[in-house]
């Protein structure tokens, strides 16, 4: 007989287990609708790989694992995916979470299973992958991905594999009945786990309040080398750390994992799931759930598909809603009240408790702590619950942490024994959450600080660069000025020379105003004036084509220039005729030129008057229409190219404006035509 140890504290609440043990495991059947939360385990939520409307087979993967600490989700029956949306899930927050909803088609048609005939011949990594792909997460309550737990580090070999068949919480009998009815499966699962992690011993721990289970397991374990260890009933001996202490006498260090002391602990339900995944090729799509409490007529254990709404299971067990005042998922000690009866069961749901008001009364109001110390006596983690309570209440979270707040397993033993009925566990949960929040905030603020400082540094660097550029430019400018000053002395001479040249020219012109030069002068004047007229008229053409407002001014300029040209030509002509006398044409020319210009201008005006107003209006209308067409084309182009909205709007308003102008032009034309 193996020596069993004891752990500190613990309580003996009323067990209430017999109610649900009267009948064997019954199949709950297939509900019309199954709701599969994507996050049924600890770690990253699974990612849906099916689409709404898609038909899925029983056992088909509907959501794939995302990351190492994650497991996939499988369709529990065949049917159609009717929605992938947020649904209310079983969580103390009462919040919704993304779920895949499958409407059953009633056929319950399996996909092809690929069992492993002889797992000894298969690579261990392959077996682990199969366990992971089967979606197995710890079924005792925490839901930690089993494959991750089974990944043994070579530098830390595992001495002891423990299967947890303790089930210490009142009311729950799912593991108990599993051990009674499927002892062989549990042993097979244990053998697979043992093959994977190669421990020196395999223990199955069962409390002594389950004699039938113990007997069944002992029969099944005969000749396998697996030892069934029985120990006295005490809550919470099913806690992982407590069970390890009971069976091995070793304590898991604070903040550490069982693997640190060479122990791996698995729930018996997980062992069965592993066995089904390897030997039958079936993923985790159902589990045994205890439905119990005084508000159900036939408390029993049901084999339910994952995703079955709680209300469906309650109905199967004969639920009397009138008797019930709240629904609890899990046991009375560690379970939580669910927001709605339609929430689905998940991989970690071991019990649905529907107590009557008398059975589980609302907690009486909390009284002040009297420092009796009963909580410290009951604490299985050897903490000081009342100190933690004071710290949590006073928000002295740092001190709470120093008093090993995070070693609290939230078993509720302290609240159970508290004569002042203080909801101690709630204080610890809140304090833990607050500490984690503070840590996250600190992390975030540190991150922000680094980003802020990086930005400041960048801005400073940019500023310095700008400053350097500015300085360089300033220096270059100074250098240039200096060079210019130096060259200034050298350039003084040419300027002076040019001035002198010009002076000399003037002097020469003044002295020898001969006939030849006069003729040349007149010819030059004609040529330059002609040139000017050409440029002015091209400008005018361009302005007319553009429809610019400067057309009038330009027209005036052109008229003036042409008058000048006429005058110059006249002068030249006169000079050539009166060759010997250069004095006469000069005064005569302006007179004639002015006359000619006046005449030309009058002629032009007459011509203008002749073709106006109808023609004029038509001309401008044509121009406007051409512009409108252009703008419209541009707008079309812009729309087709999907340009920015503002540009489109601007173009539209341009087109609109032009349209108005065209309309006005047309009206003018009509008016012109009528008169």
């Amino acid at each position: 007989m193996r020596k069993v140890f004891d752990f500190h504290g613990g309580i003996h609440p009323a067990e209430n287990k017999h109610q649900s043990l009267r009948t064997p495991i019954a199949s709950a059947g297939v509900p019309a609708e199954l709701i599969l939360p994507l996050s049924q385990h600890i770690g990253a939520p699974a990612e849906p790989i099916v689409e709404v409307g898609q038909r899925v087979l029983k056992g088909q993967v509907v959501a794939a694992a995302s990351g190492f600490v994650s497991v996939p989700v499988h369709a529990p029956t065949s049917g159609q995916v009717t929605a992938i949306e947020d649904r209310l899930i079983a969580h103390p927050s009462g919040l919704s979470a993304p779920c895949i909803v499958i409407t059953s088609d009633g056929l319950d048609q399996w996909q092809e299973c690929q069992p492993v005939a002889d797992y000894h011949s298969v690579d261990k990594a392959d077996l682990l992958a199969r366990i992971r792909d089967a979606g197995i997460a710890g079924m005792g309550g925490a839901g930690f991905p089993t494959a991750v737990k089974l990944t043994v580090k070579p530098q830390a070999p595992i001495a002891t594999l423990i299967l947890n068949g303790t089930e210490c919480e009142p009311y729950i009998t799912a593991d108990d009945i599993l051990m009674r009815e499927r002892a062989q499966h549990i042993i097979e699962g244990a053998q697979i786990l043992s093959h994977l992690i190669e421990p020196s011993e395999v223990l199955i721990g069962i409390e002594d309040n389950k004699p039938e289970s113990i007997a069944a397991m002992q029969v099944a374990a005969q000749g396998t080398g697996i030892e069934i260890v029985v120990f006295p009933t005490k809550y919470p001996s099913g806690g992982e750390k407590q069970l390890i202490e009971i069976l091995t006498g070793k304590q898991v260090p604070s903040g550490g994992l069982p693997a640190d002391i060479g122990v791996i602990c698995q729930n018996v339900g997980s062992a069965v799931a592993v066995r089904d995944a390897i030997l039958e090729g079936k993923p985790l799509i159902s589990r045994v759930v205890t439905v119990t409490g005084e508000a159900v007529e036939e408390p029993q254990n049901l084999e339910a598909l994952i995703g079955t709404p709680m209300s469906y299971l309650l109905q199967t067990a004969g639920y009397q809603a009138a008797k019930n005042q709240r629904l609890i998922m899990g046991g009375p000690m560690m379970g939580f009240t669910v927001p709605d009866a339609d929430v689905p069961i998940v991989k970690t749901t071991n019990c649905i408790l529907a107590p009557s008001a008398a059975e589980l009364p609302a907690p009486p109001p909390a009284q002040p702590c009297i420092r009796c110390g009963m909580c410290a006596e009951a604490c299985p983690a050897s903490l000081l619950p009342q100190q933690l309570f004071w710290f949590a209440q006073g928000k002295e979270f740092e001190k709470a942490e120093q008093h090993n707040l995070f070693d609290c397993i939230e078993c509720g033993a302290c609240s159970y024994v508290c004569p002042s009925t203080i909801p101690l566990v709630q204080y610890y949960r809140a304090a833990k959450a607050e500490v984690i929040q503070i840590r996250q905030d600190a992390e975030k603020s540190e991150h922000s600080r680094l980003r802020f400082e990086a930005r400041q540094a960048r801005k400073e660097r940019e500023e310095a660069e700008k400053e350097a550029k500015r300085a360089a430019r300033k220096k270059a400018a100074e250098e240039k000025a200096r060079l210019a000053a130096e060259q200034g002395d050298a350039q003084e001479d040419p300027i002076q020379a040019a001035i002198e040249r010009a002076k000399a020219k003037k002097a020469a012109q003044a002295s020898g105003g001969d006939a030849e030069s006069e003729l040349e002068k007149l010819e030059k004047l004609v040529i330059t004036t002609r040139k000017r007229l050409e440029t002015a008229s091209t400008k005018l053409e361009a302005a007319k084509a553009e429809g610019s407002e400067h057309v009038d001014a330009l027209q005036l300029g052109v008229d003036k220039t042409s008058a000048k040209l006429a005058a110059a030509e006249q002068a030249l002509h006169a000079y050539q005729q009166a060759n010997p006398s250069p004095d006469i044409p000069a005064p005569a020319a302006p007179d004639d030129a002015a006359q000619a210009a006046i005449e030309r201008a009058m002629a032009a005006r007459q011509a203008d008057a002749a073709k106006s107003p109808e023609e004029k209006a038509r001309e401008s209308l044509q121009k406007l229409e051409a512009r409108l067409a252009k703008s419209e084309a541009r707008l079309q182009e812009g729309r087709a190219a999907g340009e920015e909205e503002k540009i489109i709007i601007a173009l539209e308003s341009t087109v609109e404006r032009l349209r108005e102008k065209v309309a006005a032009g047309k009206a003018q034309l009509k008016q012109a035509e009528t008169c």
Binding site: T421, A430, E446
Partner: protein, 203 residues
């Protein structure tokens, strides 16, 4: 030597004390140079407590300047994002009485995150320039967006926006952010004994 000391005890004592003082003075002087503290260490400690939103609600251009101002004697209750808990932490650090948060600089509120209405954004980059932690992504004439994980909820991008397309929205509660709250303190204020309360309820 002994005769000399015996002859002039006063001078001997004086000499001994002065030489001791000189030796220790030299050691301390060396230590002051050798182990000189770079900057003011209290500023770093204060800065570590401040929430680093860089929002400027305290009237300083960033958290570090405020930390420096606190070290120089400014009030510690001007940081709304840090909240009363932040004031308390600063008070603990500086060993002073914790004042209540100065409402003049803003109220303590749940963390917010900037949200750019992308349909309205004209791509002016003004908010990018305003963001103290480079949490806004975008380019000129292109739509901008907020990198939520980097946003400190400082509010500084809201004012510069010429088309008013930035809103501060409270971070919504998800399963990941949800956590247990401390029990309602009012639930503990009972004026009758619990057993009597049960009897009262039955009656």
């Amino acid at each position: 030597m002994y005769a000399l000391i015996a002859q002039y005890p006063l001078l001997a004592a004086l000499f001994a004390l002065v030489s001791l003082g000189a030796v220790f003075g030299a050691i301390l002087g060396y230590a002051a140079v050798r182990f000189k503290a770079e900057g003011n260490p209290i500023v770093d400690q204060i800065n570590a407590i401040l929430p680093q939103t860089q929002c400027g609600q305290c009237g300083h251009p960033g958290c570090r300047p405020y930390a420096e101002a606190i070290a120089a004697g400014e009030e510690i209750n001007k940081c709304p994002p840090g909240g009363q808990a932040g004031v308390q932490a600063l008070a603990d650090l500086l060993d002073v009485e914790a004042p209540t948060l100065d409402e003049e600089h803003g109220e303590e509120k749940v963390p917010h995150v900037a949200y750019i209405h992308e349909d309205d954004c004209i791509g002016c980059t003004k908010c990018i320039q305003a963001c103290p932690v480079d949490a806004i992504l975008g380019a000129a004439k292109h739509m901008h967006t907020v990198i939520v994980s980097e946003c400190t909820g400082c509010d500084l991008c809201v004012d510069p926006c010429p088309v008013d397309c930035i809103d501060m929205i409270p971070e919504d509660e998800t399963l990941r952010s949800w956590h247990w709250q401390l029990p309602d303190p009012n639930s503990r204020q009972v004026d009758i004994i619990a057993t009597d309360a049960a009897a009262e309820a039955a009656a």
